[in-house]
């Protein structure tokens, strides 16, 4: 495809946020955020609503002026530039296609604003339609398109101006579940093909995990943790990240000894586990142990490293059997075990839960919440 050659010709530029702060009257929407997005990298800003991720995106786009800090593309600060001179492609959650224009006019909009000739516009529109596989839709109006088709047009419109940075604002939130995976693949493909540095804002961890190179988990205007999806999931740096990403069981316990291979933690529920952690804990410190449901197993007999649990319910969800149980310490926990074909839900009863061999529980101080 011809477009691939022209598109990848320009090198991807890094995007740097340097101490970006945005305050409303009383509080901080964005609180001293420093983030370096490498050229060609896709970073997801992940967090609950109100965590400042959308404000941060709008600051990069130039729709909001930050109170403090710098936004730098390549090595050039862009803070002084109005939005129309930042050369940033942006895809909105509701796509924001111009309803009074055809698909072709929508895609040509940015080119017309740059004073490109009709011939160049027509050529680029055809090229972009081919890139997003929407040939034959040029003369449709946005309302005649499905959600997925509208998003393809929104992408084509954003990419037609050959942006330096691509911003995606909750790009999959308005799509059917079945379409989401297709569009995630599509966006990843286009982002690679155009060698674009990209930031995606989302509150959906699955979206962030599936297409982001790195994830910045945000809370209260700050980045809680920045890392690859695997790091974020396996080694959550804070209890907030731990609770926000995936589901986990939190077990109360106390550090009884510090050894060379980790902390010996005695759980309130009875079991004693030896756990490695990057955190620092004193002997006697109250801790919370976080274990993912799929990192626990069930056994029939008691053992020092097993905690007794009362099984309440078990649900066959796809290939896994999810047990809903109460630990002896009173915590509600979930345990996911692979389901043998033909195996049915088991009834209530008592069992013993242990760590799976591959388990990597996380330790947090019990006082933090």
């Amino acid at each position: 495809m011809a477009s691939q050659h022209t598109a990848t010709a320009q090198a991807a530029q890094p995007l740097t946020l340097d101490g970006v702060t945005h305050s409303y009257g009383t509080g901080f929407a964005v609180d001293n955020v420093t983030l370096e997005v490498k050229g060609g990298e896709l970073v997801a800003l992940l967090g609950p609503s109100g965590c400042g991720k959308t404000t941060l995106l709008r600051i990069v786009a130039g729709f909001i002026s930050q109170t403090n800090g710098k936004v730098i593309i390549g090595d050039r600060p862009i803070d002084v530039l109005p939005p129309n001179r930042r050369e940033i492609g942006i895809v909105f959650q509701n796509y924001a296609l111009f309803p009074h224009m055809t698909v072709a006019e929508n895609i040509a909009y940015g080119l017309a604003a740059r004073g490109e000739s009709r011939a160049v516009q027509a050529e680029r529109v055809a090229e972009m339609l081919a890139t997003v596989r929407m040939e034959g839709f040029a003369d449709r109006k946005p309302r005649q398109l499905s959600g997925g088709q509208q998003q393809r047009v929104a992408l084509a419109r954003a990419l037609a101006i050959r942006p330096r940075i691509l911003l995606l604002d909750e790009p999959f939130a308005a799509l059917d579940k079945n379409l989401r995976l297709d569009m995630q693949i599509e966006i990843k493909r286009l982002q690679r093909q155009f060698a674009l540095t990209a930031i995606m804002v989302t509150h959906d961890q699955d979206e962030a995990m599936s297409i982001a190179d790195r994830i910045a988990v945000m809370s209260h205007g700050k980045i809680e943790q920045l890392g690859s999806p695997v790091e974020i999931y396996d080694e959550p740096a804070t209890l907030f990240v731990n609770n926000f990403i995936g589901s986990s069981n939190l077990l109360k316990g106390r550090v009884v000894a510090v050894g060379p291979d980790g902390y010996r933690v005695e759980l309130d529920s009875g079991a004693v586990w030896t756990l490695a952690s990057k955190g620092r804990f004193e002997t006697g410190a109250a801790v919370l142990v976080s274990v993912r449901p799929e990192q626990m197993v069930l056994a029939d007999e008691a053992a020092p490293d097993r905690l007794p649990v009362a099984l309440k319910l078990s649900l066959p969800i796809g290939g896994a059997l999810i047990h809903d149980a109460t630990a002896a310490g009173g915590e509600d926990i979930k345990i996911a075990v692979p389901r043998r074909p033909g195996a049915l839900s088991t009834g209530p009863g008592t069992a013993f839960a242990a760590l799976a061999p591959h388990a990597r529980p996380s330790l947090f101080p019990a006082t933090s919440s």
Partner: protein, 286 residues
């Protein structure tokens, strides 16, 4: 609950047209019938209504004076629409950007003129426009003019007054549609490289055109028929169709001629409204 009896007619939520009867009857008695009478009277040839003929129509449409009255009335409506548009769009943009609290204050300020009668507002404009009025005293005080300007009984003064008086009619529909406009569309336009002006003309204007057409229709219809403002500020020097009708029917007692003028005013307003709705077909908002 028990099942519906078999064979029972399905209950349909049909529109009950009889509900419209009171209004419909009022319309027939007080509008349709007088309108037909008016149409009939216009075909009398003389003021005493003794002979039938097209004399009144011919006289009206061959006399340059009356043709100029039609033209002036149309022109007044167009000027009022243009002036209110030029002032209303910037205000609508400010309104859109304001906080909800500020919007309530603005709405109150915009609606305030409507709480005062047109007569009072018109007389207020006399105080402002008169030879010894506010504008002239200010201009003379500043030494910008030696002799007072003639603002009363001029088209300019009338357009000024009408613009203020009709402003809410233009603003209300425009503000409503302006507030519904998706901010993302404006942001998208900006991010794609369009300047603020380009964004206004390519995105904001076309998408708010239906609101403008509603406002322009109201302003045009009420400016062309604003008998009180036209007479009080325009005076005897400026003659528009409403004053002509009043003069022919109440002073000269030439009812056939007044009927022709009335129907002409009706068609003038209708033609303006039709031109605006024709323009609406080009408002490609969806």
């Amino acid at each position: 609950m028990s099942a519906a009896a078999p064979g029972a007619a399905p209950v349909r939520d049909a529109v009950e047209w009889r509900l419209a009867a009171p209004l419909g009857l009022t319309y027939v008695v007080f509008f349709a019938a007088p309108f037909l009478i008016l149409l009939g009277i216009s075909f009398y040839a003389d003021a005493e209504q003794t002979r039938l003929g097209f004399d009144s129509w011919v006289k009206f449409y061959t006399d340059a004076f009356y043709l100029k009255v039609i033209f002036d009335t149309l022109k007044l409506g167009v000027f009022a629409v243009v002036a209110t548009t030029i002032l209303a769009y910037p205000l609508a943009l400010v309104f859109r950007a304001s906080s909800p609290r500020m919007q309530r204050v603005l709405i109150f300020i915009i609606l305030m003129p409507l709480l005062t009668s047109v007569v009072i507002r018109t007389f207020a404009w006399i105080v402002i426009l008169a030879r010894e009025g506010v504008i002239n005293q200010t201009l003379m005080g500043l030494g910008l003019t030696a002799t007072p300007l003639n603002l009363l009984q001029t088209e300019l003064g009338l357009v000024l007054a009408l613009t203020q008086i009709e402003m809410p009619l233009m603003l209300l529909p425009l503000l409503a549609i302006m507030n519904q406009l998706d901010q993302n569309l404006i942001d998208a336009s900006r991010a794609l490289g369009a300047s603020k002006w380009r964004t206004f003309f390519r995105v904001i204007l076309p998408l708010t055109l239906p609101g403008w057409i509603a406002g322009a229709t109201l302003v045009f219809a009420s400016a062309t028929t604003a008998f009180i403002s036209q007479s009080v500020i325009g005076g005897a020097r400026l003659v528009y169709l409403p004053a002509l009708i009043w003069q022919q029917s109440m002073v000269v007692y030439n009812w056939p001629f007044a009927a022709v003028a009335s129907l002409t005013l009706l068609f003038t307003v209708l033609s303006g409204i039709m031109a605006l709705s024709w323009l609406g077909r080009f408002a490609r908002t969806t």
